[in-house]
């Protein structure tokens, strides 16, 4: 391993494991799963058994600890299956569990985390509502304390793994207006008053289920409160750092696959008597694409290294997400263009990459919200 590398022996072995997992368990089926708009629950169990879901979690909860680059290797290799939906669906635990791990009671942690890391249970994060997305502090789902229970009323939407999760980390309003009145509750699937109201049809991310949830006089035991009442907002914001890094990685992974597909296609496809790579304009376009991706990858790695070092990267991780998604917007667009009509066909990977990519600058905080954060950090 080079001295300049962020990766060591452990990362190499882990990369081998994940890439083998993708090759054996995912690639033979992914096209079918995409069309079926779902992947088998069994895949969580297989990933859990191979120790892939526990990367970065405490050993006491069934995880294997580890540094940020181990998680990064996992995300990069899972993305090589060519399905953002699979990465998002299999990875929904990584946005749902951290608040429980960091702020939950011991009893709650033990009840939820180990089973999810084993792949026996699925976890989802439910913040977004029909009337509050970017404006997280504006959520309206109410939780009113009545004795040993919270009575929850409201709705959530666009929730990844929302249809089949067992545990939901749900943002609710327990106090006054604004961010100071937000709490997090862990709500279980079979709680009376909780229903999955709709499975949503989407542009991309087909392999992951995305749901609308409804809470009508849903009675949640008070011991399911994650952390302290009315202090949920900070937990949500902390959680966003990792999600944004992971979305930047997904963007880079998307770009990588798009570029690789193009490099192959331009050598095979002929026009006007020569392969597309015979046109200088094509070669220069590929050179630009490769340059942008390289810059994005290095920047993202750098931000990951800072995070690993315990530095606050609120600004940088927002920049990395925007940079990476700008690059993936461009590269997926160019990839479809280079493929011509074939790029528009479902049998081409670039067609799926183009659709899957679109969410990356929206989810986990939109491009505009990232810029709000960055400009605040610049002193405005």
């Amino acid at each position: 391993m080079s001295k300049l590398s962020y990766f060591g022996e452990t990362h190499r072995l882990l990369r081998d494991t994940v890439s083998r997992f993708v090759e054996r368990e995912v690639l033979p089926h992914i096209d079918d799963w995409e069309e079926a708009e779902s992947f088998p629950r069994e895949l969580y169990l297989k990933a859990g058994a191979a120790g892939l879901l526990g990367i970065g979690y405490p050993e006491a909860l069934g995880g294997s600890e580890g540094d940020i680059f181990q998680k990064l290797v996992f995300t990069e290799e899972i993305m090589r299956a060519g399905s953002g939906g699979l990465t998002a669906g299999l990875g929904s635990l990584d946005i749902a569990l951290p608040p429980i791990v960091h702020f939950g009671s011991d009893e709650l942690k033990q009840r939820v985390v180990p089973a999810v890391l084993r792949g026996e249970k699925i976890a989802a994060l439910a913040i977004t509502e029909p009337n509050a997305g970017s404006d997280v502090a504006g959520i309206q789902t109410r939780a009113v304390k009545e004795g040993d229970f919270y009575r929850v009323n409201g709705a959530k939407t666009f929730i990844t793994s929302g249809c089949r999760a067992d545990f939901y980390t749900v943002a609710v309003r327990t106090g006054d207006k604004g961010y100071g009145g937000v709490s997090l509750l862990m709500i279980e699937k079979d709680t009376p008053g909780f229903t999955v109201s709709k499975k949503l049809k989407k542009m991309g991310w087909w392999a992951s289920d995305t749901a609308e949830l409804s809470f009508q006089d849903c009675m949640v035991p008070v011991e399911n409160l994650i952390g302290v009442e009315n202090q949920g907002f900070v937990a949500i914001m902390n959680n966003f750092q990792n999600e944004r890094l992971s979305l930047a990685l997904m963007a880079n992974g998307t770009s990588q696959l798009a570029l690789e597909a193009c490099l192959e296609y331009v050598q095979d496809r002929k026009a006007f008597g020569k392969p597309l790579s015979g046109f200088q304009v094509t070669r220069h376009k590929l050179a630009d694409m490769a340059t942008q991706l390289e810059a994005s990858k290095e920047f993202t790695y750098r931000v990951a290294a800072k995070m690993d070092n315990g530095e606050s990267v609120i600004k940088e991780v927002s920049m990395a997400k925007n940079f990476a998604t700008d690059v993936s917007d461009k590269l997926t667009y160019e990839a479809v263009q280079l493929f011509g009509g074939m790029g528009y066909m479902r049998e081409s990977l670039v067609e799926r990459l183009y659709r899957d990519n679109r969410i990356l600058s929206i989810g986990g905080g939109t491009r505009e919200i990232m810029n709000e954060i960055i400009s605040k950090q610049l002193g405005f």
Partner: protein, 249 residues
């Protein structure tokens, strides 16, 4: 019971191998390398025997440049207990490899030696057999099932036309076929543990073996490109073409 497993570093089976421009060899620059799949099956079998309580120690050995320590680490992450690298920059032929392994067998005195039936790079399928001859041990090759009990190994072999079961008195040599098992994934906790397992480095000289070459590679060429296929209209036409054009029936 001690098991010695041989592992070889080869080009990853997913990589489309390219031949060097001068036809001297396969081009390995910047190519992903991996543990030979048959060797991986051998490691898995050893680990299963240990999990069953049959084996107590697994030693993984690889012959090659420093980089082959990567494959030893993989074996350690899969469950082997310690590793031995025999360092050489030469690419020894099967007989030299068998002689080196024989020297390790003399030192380690394993009850069972597990090897892949062949490596996917040179496809020779002879190292295990040569080692058995040099060590004077019985051999069970192309194993699709291995049962070890009371000082002997029952090995089911995949042979043309069926299965054959042989019983070998230990110590013995077994080479693995594809269907013996499906290797596990090295999990992160096991990868971390592997980092702390011992890995000894030896040289052929220390083992008293001289690597000699009796073989020169004259030329390496890629296989002929596959021709496009055709669609036939009926079974009759298919049979006719198989008979008269392809001349295979």
């Amino acid at each position: 019971m001690k098991i010695l497993v041989a592992v070889k570093r080869v080009i990853d089976y997913n990589v489309k191998a390219r031949v060097k421009a001068d036809n001297s060899d396969v081009d390995l620059t910047n190519v992903k390398m991996a543990i030979n799949p048959f060797c991986e099956i051998a490691v898995e079998e050893a680990v299963r025997l240990k999990e069953k309580g049959v084996a107590s120690e697994i030693v993984a050995v690889s012959i090659g440049p420093k980089a082959c320590q990567e494959q030893i680490r993989t074996a350690l992450a899969l469950g082997a207990d310690r590793g031995i690298q025999i360092e050489t920059e030469a690419s020894p032929n099967s007989l030299s490899v068998a002689k080196l392994l024989k020297a390790v067998v003399d030192e380690e005195k394993p009850d069972l030696v597990l090897l892949g039936k062949q490596s996917i790079d040179s496809d020779n399928n002879q190292t295990g057999q040569m080692l058995a001859a040099l060590a004077g041990y019985p051999q069970g090759t192309f194993a699709s099932e291995v049962n070890v009990e009371d000082g002997s190994a029952k090995v089911t072999r995949e042979i043309d036309g069926g299965l054959q079961t042989v019983e070998l008195k230990l110590p013995a040599i077994v080479t693995t076929d594809l269907r013996l098992n499906e290797p596990r994934y090295a999990s992160l906790p096991n990868i971390m543990k592997a980092k702390r397992k011992p890995l000894a480095v030896k040289t052929p000289a220390e083992l008293g073996v001289e690597i000699s070459s009796t073989l020169t590679t004259v030329k390496v060429e890629p296989p002929a490109e596959r021709q496009g296929g055709i669609k036939v209209g009926s079974v009759e036409e298919l049979v006719e073409k198989l008979k008269n054009e392809a001349k295979v029936i």
